[in-house]
Amino acid sequence: MRSSAVLTVACAAAFVLLWKAVVVVGGYPAFILPAPESVFARFVTAWADGRMAPHAVATLLEITLGFLIGGALGLVAGYALGKSALVARLISPYLVAAQATPILALAPVLALWFGPGLLGKVVIAALIVFFPIAVSAMVGIRSVDAGLLELGRSLRASPLQVLLTLEIPAALPSIFGGLRIGITLAVVGAVVGEWAGAERGLGVLVNIARGSLFDIPLMFATLATIALIGVALYLAVVLVERRLVRR
């Protein structure tokens, strides 16, 4: 545990040094690639003077709601797909087609339908999260050992009991694989959704910093905030997984 923490810190340090080296060697001016220390300084001031917080909260809300809604729908859909071959055959083509269409292309249309507020971003994030979680749930449900299902039958388990005591526990490892992927995609979806039109959010701040304020260190600091949120949420999923999935 300790050695992995040291390794993580070392990796981060190496990344920062590499960045600095690129800036110095490449001679990049601040408005193209700012040095790490200026980004860090800007990051600190942006949080301290309260500029970053409202945008971060807005994006975090979009991510969380989108993940929860898209994830819940994905789990239900995945369960149906896993249990019924008929459902799988009917619905799969549409699911795959929806997944293959890039969110970047759909986002402006969705922004038009749902408006520039929270709803549109939540829809976009939920959409992007839906497919991987549905697939992971489907695979998980299908992976339930037939022998265990017969055991359940021999003990007269009701369909609900089969779901709760056999199917869900068996499917959890696969489901959490999908949730890990899903949470990072939710971050992407929220930010991309904001680029299609939003009042506030980290994606909006990136655009403002870049196009109106010409404050590139702020733009990088905002990107760093996005990355940190993604990492934190991912770790949260991993922590929940450790608690729920024990073999």
Partner: protein, 335 residues
Amino acid sequence: MNRRTDVVASIFLLTALAGACVGQPASATPGRTALTVGLGYIPSVQFAPFYLADQAGYYRDAGLEVTFQNKIDPDLVTLVGQGAIDVGLADGTSLIPAVSQGIPVQYIATIYRDFPSIVFAPAAAGINSAIDLKGRKIGIPGRYGSSWVMLQALLDSAGLRPEDVEIVEYPDFGQGAAVAQGAVDAATGFANNEPVQLQLAGIETTILHVDEIVPLPGPGLISGTRTIESKGDAIRAFVRATLRAMGDIVAVPSKGLDAAIVAVPDLGADRAKQGAVLDATIRAWQGSGTGSGSAALGSINEADWAASLAFMAGLGLVAGPVTVDQLVRADLLPR
């Protein structure tokens, strides 16, 4: 595993960003100087001077081979500073923050003497001056950019602050429609756009200009300092040719309209509307403020820039010390 993936992804992102920033210089047929010009907006009748200068051969005669980028480009000023684009179109509210952040660009010719970003309202709303905005609903794309600076200047002139009005954001730029529907009392827009459209739809509008309050510099030609060093003569020729076309259009507006329709055939679908937009644009070139009618096309008013610099510094949009000399230069204008 996740952190390491993050690190790799970040390196990837940064490298890609850095790589993308290195632009490609334009190459030309021998004997001609190539110039890339970023207009910063989608094809529109307001770019008539450029279309006319191109079609009438003014650029060719000056030994130039001009390539236009006619699209919305949020990175335009940065690309000009980098040298990836030789000449761009930008206004003072973009240039001042950019220069204060160390981007090496300069304003070399004025195109719009009036600041085109305005506040407009239906005449029935009774908004005739800035003080009338108090307590009203105002639509705006967002709390950033030229319209935000302009709005703050207007409010400030009446002793108001943004908190004294109700700001409604339309990130999809639907504030014009919102005014027409009555969802808001007034909105920010462009002098040659929303009011013209409303007028054509039969709705009388009142317009609040910021020029008398803070003489914010309207859009003009900008270029990177390094580009000016290496291609100064070509850029000077470009400025002259463009201003000549502008003069032609001021004298005979239909020339501009025809040139725009040749360049952008879709505009021909509604000549009347495009003509109205062009007329409003020409008025913005000439300026409606006192004394501006006599100024030569393209000339730069350094006093106005100084006042605007002070105003924007007051809004906290100037990161470091900036002088007017860093912002503008007049030596590329025709004598």
